[in-house]
């Protein structure tokens, strides 16, 4: 049995995998999770997984633990093998989709990664740098301003209101300006989703494969999938557990 852990900026994600089958998935908000069950011993992070109650004692007993995530460089997790995020996500996409040639677009809480996979191997990748305005956190902020749920925000793609600020924070005031102009909330939501497409398109253009595999929490955004398909003309594949892709990847390595 393998336990994969993906310590993301917003959520810690867990996947229990046995012989290629996902047995169970779990997640927990990162900060409270660290506060409650984590502590530092020297340079090492120690997670009290048993106390978290996410897994049974037998499960933890027999499992090999593989971990990835943002803390990977600053922290090492006691008793676990640590792998880089990009490798974990590619492994997850391979395991979940069975595809061998694709462009992986992973959109998480803060990060957007684009990786080119050929014949099952990672051949090149780029990451968003210095700006998180194409991430889950950005969507959460915008949903809060529009006073809609993330699910509501993610369901509108028709006739987007143009939003052009390159910065997520300035984007908020731009959005407020458009609210004042009286656009319907559906079109404002679509506009927000459209900004994500604009930000990731240049990265996707660098890696022109037929298929794009979309993972990360943002992959739950149906409007984004639709808008991306339109903008790229490529086939979009969203695996069954997009948000747990990194954790599944860890567990299947």
């Amino acid at each position: 049995m393998n336990l994969g852990i993906d310590l993301g900026s917003r959520k810690a994600k867990f996947a229990l995998v046995q012989e290629g089958h996902v047995i169970r998935l779990a997640d927990h908000d990162t900060v409270p999770f660290y506060k409650r069950y984590g502590r530092l011993e020297g340079e090492e992070l120690v997670l009290d997984l048993a106390a978290s109650g996410l897994f049974s004692a037998e499960e933890l007993e027999g499992a090999t633990v593989v971990v990835t995530g943002y803390g990977r460089n600053t922290l090492s997790l006691r008793g676990a093998r640590v792998v880089s995020e990009i490798r974990a996500h590619v492994a997850g996409a391979l395991a979940q989709t069975g595809l061998a040639d694709f462009t992986l677009l992973d959109m998480g809480g803060q990060d957007t990664k684009v990786a080119l996979v050929k014949a099952g191997k990672l051949t090149d990748f780029v990451m968003n740098d210095k700006c998180a305005a194409s991430s889950g956190r950005y969507l959460e902020n915008m949903a809060a301003i529009l006073e809609v749920s993330l699910a509501e925000l993610s369901s509108h793609w028709h006739d987007p209101v143009p939003l052009d600020a390159t910065c997520g924070i300035f984007g908020e005031s731009e959005l407020i300006g458009q609210i004042l102009r009286g656009y319907p909330v559906e079109r404002l939501c679509a506009g927000v989703n459209q900004t994500l497409v604009k930000r990731v398109l240049p990265m996707l253009r660098r890696f022109p494969s037929e298929t794009v595999v979309l993972t990360g929490g943002v992959a739950h955004n149906r409007a984004l999938v639709r808008l991306l398909e339109e903008a790229t003309g490529r086939t979009l594949v969203v695996p069954e557990h997009p948000q747990h892709n990194g954790a599944i990847g860890c567990a299947s390595m």
């Binding site: 943002y70 990977r72 460089n73 600053t74 880089s84 995020e85 990009i86 490798r87 990672l122 051949t123 090149d124 990748f125 990451m127 740098d129 210095k130």
Partner: protein
Amino acid sequence: MHRVGFTTTIPLEIVLAAGMTPVDLNNVFITSPHATRMIEEAEVDGFPRSICGWIKGIYAAVVECGIHELIAVTEGDCSNTRALMEVLSLKGVETIPFAYPHDRDPAGLRFEIEKLMRRFGVGWDAVKLSRERLGRIRRKVKEIDRLTWDENRVSGQENHYFQVCTSDMNSDPDRFEAEVDAFLEKARQREPFRQRLRLAYIGVPPIMTDLYPFVETLDARVVFNETQRQFAMPFDTPDLVEQYRAYTYPYDIFHRLSDILMELERRKVDAVIHYVQSFCFRQIEDMIVRQKLPLPVLTLEGDKPGPLDARTRIRIEGFLEMLA
């Protein structure tokens, strides 16, 4: 002794022939324990956020070490230098422009060199003598470079350090030569390094402080430092004008690329790190670099002095894993 500052490599031979102390302001800035504060001070004085950190660092270095005379490279380096020069002259610093002709025209370069000689009141005989003296040190640094890629006895950081210091010979050629000698002796007796991946570092020297040791923890080592090696003038050239024509840094990207391509092959490099400075015009050249180099390229961007940030570490790690 009278100190003369400069903004990037200039014909050092002239400054030394004139009996003055050369000070590469980039080195003053980046080795200062408060390099970060220096940038902030330059910004307080009015330098925009969106201007390269090296320019602000040079400005602060001039102010901090009380340089009164400055050779500013106005052509062949950065166009920001011109405005920097203007700001500094307003502060009472005497600025002396020096231009590398874009087309590497020998007559044009000779003219610039002789102009600088006149400015410092030295003739060709004195300049030749100081070129010979520097040539001796440069050959030793070239040996350090060879030990890096040929015998694997020198780390990427050491290679970087010794070559970068040749721009002003640490302001004291004799002392620097003694340091080089001591290092050579030590390095020759070492066990060779065994990292599996051989990397090239191209672009301006890194503003971050721990790039080399970090890649070495990941089973990789930099065996080619492009610009730093250029500072050390490793070519056999008949005279000073040819020496500064062979120097690639101030000329166009294609001249630089032919040198890079040759070294990548000679040094059996596996992959390239292209460093670009935030807000630098050379970022645009990354497009050409990526097209022309036959190896995987990771483009890293740095902004301010300090250790690598977590994101950059993640990217380096992913890149090196991909090669494995």
